[in-house]
Symmetry: C2
Subunit: 341 residues, 2 copies
């Protein structure tokens, strides 16, 4: 909450004192009417009339300050709401929050650890009742004090680092092992691997899964076929182009997330290349793509649901030791081509 000027045009909003004066009752009577506590028929009528006339709305900020009740607000920190993966998480979290009578504040870290830290601090200063976090930074020890002071925190998709807390994760290694394995089963021997930032544990697991599949098939791992630190789809496209221009190019690609898959697919399509493609993350129209795409899928809604419900259990007082849940991933086979003869 940064220093901001008061708005000049804002007339003072009516308070309970104004309503009380208007209705000729005491402040406390107004409070009782507003909160549905027993009040005599006649006074209720006068108070409601005054409320309607003045346009009074209870100030929940003040109410919360005094009552020390919960804030009815939880914070969700994601990377970027425009990504469908995170939009789905936000959608489910908001739905479950609503079922608990609470609102969701969503903020995007844009993968910037500094921003992540600032936003989480802002959340705590706003006294949210709990935090859902898809971590961006490499260290979350700065949250330790908050957790000790009773702030429930549940991590999604990526584990916390430097902090013990609940986490709900995906079986990244198993998924990419299955994805690359499917390419190898089809007869491919040279597989280009496109990945995001290797500082993220999730990405390292996906790389490890890809390597495990290659090793299991007795294929020597060729580092020159791995491109990481890829963020935008266009970077994936350029990486595909560079790999295809090698003297001994890959006949297949494995992409570490949906945005990279789209970028790679566009480049393959542009070149009319028939290299095979498998991606981590399903997306809505994958089956309508120029080639039906085989992808590693999982249940994003379930991920968000389990995390949100654990958070609300924590908020309700559950103080069992932090635990980590790993959800399964699976291969969605939608077509896969063997290497060109």
């Amino acid at each position: 909450m940064t220093q901001t000027p008061t708005r000049p045009t804002a007339r003072r909003r009516p308070t309970m004192v104004d309503v009380a004066r208007h209705a000729g009752v005491s402040l406390k009577t107004v409070s009782r009417v507003v909160n549905d506590e027993p009040v005599g028929q006649e006074l209720v009528g006068r108070v409601l009339a005054a409320i309607a006339e003045l346009g009074f709305r209870r100030n929940d900020i003040a109410r919360n300050l005094r009552s020390r009740q919960l804030n009815a607000t939880v914070g969700l920190l994601i990377e970027e709401i425009a990504n469908p993966f995170y939009a789905t998480i936000a959608s489910v979290a908001a739905e479950i929050a609503a079922a608990h009578g609470t609102m969701l504040i969503t903020a995007s870290s844009e993968e910037d650890p500094e921003r992540e830290r600032a936003l989480l601090q802002d959340f705590t200063q706003r006294r949210v009742d709990g935090l859902l976090v898809v971590p961006a930074g490499p260290d979350h020890s700065f949250l330790r004090r908050e957790v000790e002071l009773g702030m429930p925190v549940v991590f999604l998709d990526r584990p916390p680092q430097g902090l013990l807390a609940d986490a709900v994760l995906l079986d990244n290694q198993g998924g990419s092992r299955a994805g690359v394995g499917a390419l190898l089963d089809e007869g491919h021997r040279r597989v280009g691997v496109l990945l995001g930032a290797p500082t993220v544990p999730t990405i390292r697991e996906r790389l490890a899964g890809a390597r495990a599949a290659l090793t299991a098939a007795g294929i020597e791992h060729d580092e020159s076929l791995v491109r990481d630190r890829l963020i935008a789809p266009e970077e994936a496209g350029r990486a595909v182009a560079a790999l295809l221009d090698l003297p001994d190019p890959p006949t297949a690609f494995f992409c570490g997330n949906n945005r990279l898959t789209v970028g790679a697919l566009q480049e393959l399509h542009r070149r009319c290349s028939d290299a095979a493609l498998v991606g981590f993350d399903d997306f809505e129209l994958a089956h309508l793509m120029p080639r039906p795409l085989t992808v590693v899928g999982y249940d994003t809604r379930e991920l968000a649901r389990i995390a949100s419900e654990r958070l609300f259990r924590r908020i309700a007082g559950d103080d069992s030791p932090p635990s980590t849940t790993v959800l399964p991933t699976w291969l969605l086979r939608r077509g896969l081509t063997p290497p060109a003869a």
Copy 2:
């Protein structure tokens, strides 16, 4: 803010009084340190040490209550965050809000007018500084009092009804006129029209545009080719199926939004139908579809940007009369087939 129990595990958080006692200074000195006001070197050190030791975080709720400054929060009401159109709006709004040092609370009405009303009331009780609203319900006069009391409200994509307020809209009629016009230019004479709920002005405008194109081409309007009240993509698929099964089926379809377009496309693809298809709303992978899709496009980010910036101008005190901005739409020609011979 519904009645919720206090969390049993929550230890009392340290307050400025605790910090002051710990550091052996007055409450106000702590406040000064926390707010970067001038305080002597030595005291600053003692206070910062106490803050670190106790894990103190300023309570922005209390701060805001007393200072009568802005809340540094704006509310965004959309239909459903999982829809990319709204996710883009949320993304841009959050970005612009962040640039103004404020956070965004997003809530989804799910097209339910009752829910919309409850959520907007919740926003006002939380004393947000302003409201961005994609309206769902048919009447917004219940916000009139709020607006009079100084709450800035900007409507996006759909105009307010029963209320005078800023609005940023799209040229729906022009867009669908161009979309249907393109089909007619291609030689189509029977065009199926798929639309959402006709209670929404936006939908009525899109229908009017489609009719205008037909009239301009001298084609009599056949009501039996119009299907409205369609929400889920599957409903669009079923509508396409029903229309294609007519004795004299349409040779082309016009869809009123992206979800209907996807549903229609899937049904056409399933049937291997070569009926032409034009949709309102662009989407990311439209050019990779089985057939490159011609769509009516517009700049969603620009829509959200203009609305958000107008909101922050209002919050800053701009009290010029409410105005409506209509943004252009355009045809993105990506291929269009004539009627089968």
